[in-house]
Amino acid sequence: MTSLIIRAKELLENKTVQVVIGYEAGPTGVARPAFITDPAKAESLIYDERCVQNLAVYLTKREVKNIGKMAIVATLPVMRSIMMLISEQQLFADNIVVLGISADGKLLDIADNKVMQGYIEKSDLSNPEKYKGLLTEFNKLSPEEKFLYWQKELSKCIKCYACRQACPMCYCTRCTVEVNQPQWIPVKANTHGNMEWHILRAMHLAGRCISCGECGRACPVGIPCHLLTMHLTDQVYNYFKVYAGTSEKMSSVLSTYEPNDKESFII
């Protein structure tokens, strides 16, 4: 993508940013994250259908932040992650340049956060089509079938926490799974403990998940754990009519309330 390379080079040359976070092709042709600090190396940046990882996860990593001001190649989920991180005071708008990529893979001109907000607002923020069908099918199962399904899936979990590491919103320096006084989640992997871990993770992402699907992609044993958070994304919209990551001012659904929130099960 020449326009992307030219823009990245320019930003590095005139020292607007010190690092460009993007994708490059690895030795086997698989896209991998690239951290470009030298304008001469901007050539290696790529953007095509192989580039699916949500790069926003690196924006809160000290090793990257410490390089200086950052530019990032950002598709819609990445832009929404950036909004979430700013709204949660994990990132400063002044410290970042967004190299927006449209749904059809073109470089967007995102001059500032206002422009980005405008772009996000006119995009479809519901779960991606390929997951919608799965969620609808899954919701048709009986409670017993659902329980068995998750037992089967979660029995495979080896508690590697890749799903957490891959998620831009899981930036806690001390995750609850590492808290041992009290020990909320057993250290060893077993089906029940794994289920508790996934309930905890999904609850922490309720109203914060921006439906990038990265957690599920990161899982080495193929557990569709993104369906849990994406289901809650649907429910957050259903009850509260909001999607996460739409403005830098928003508070996530579970950190705020409306006195007249509606439910039908409290007696």
Partner: protein, 150 residues
């Protein structure tokens, strides 16, 4: 199943439901003795993980209760709790955990009779549903898995 006695754990806030349950007692209203009450400062403090721990430790049913909206001692703990309960319930339904076994309610310090009612209704319901076998099996299986993996 006739000798099945439901185990019900109630997570209640100190300022309304706990006081309400006290009133049930001082008013000499009789109600099912299957419930074990655990007192919290506020519904806002009742972590959803605690409900899971109750099931894991053998509860067949759970009650979560606090001050009516606008009556929370800390102004908004129950409003936050309400949103959390909504999300928790939806997630549990999605994972097939039986939310018919969990009663959410608002019981004020003046509602001694309502507390008796909430407990009785829950216990009757759990009696019909029977012990939470599938959850207990999951927990037991997990203990075996740990032994096997050691």
């Amino acid at each position: 199943m006739s000798d099945f006695e439901p185990k019900v754990v109630a997570f209640v806030c100190n300022w309304c439901t706990y006081a309400g349950a006290d009133l049930t007692g001082t008013s000499r209203i009789k109600y099912a003795s299957n419930v074990k009450i655990i007192r919290f400062p506020c519904t806002g403090r009742i972590d959803f993980m605690l409900l899971l721990k109750a099931f894991a430790n053998g509860a067949d049913g759970i009650i979560v209760s606090g001050c009516h909206p606008n009556d929370c001692h800390y102004t908004s703990g129950n409003f936050h709790a309400k949103r959390r309960w909504i999300m928790f319930k939806e997630l549990m339904d999605f994972m097939g955990v039986d939310m018919n076994r969990v009663t959410f309610s608002w019981v004020s310090a003046a509602e001694g009779a309502k507390w008796a009612d909430v407990v009785n209704t829950t216990v009757t319901k759990i009696r019909e549903l029977g012990p939470y076998v599938s959850y207990k099996e999951l927990v037991n299986k997990s203990v075996e898995e740990e032994v096997k993996n050691d």
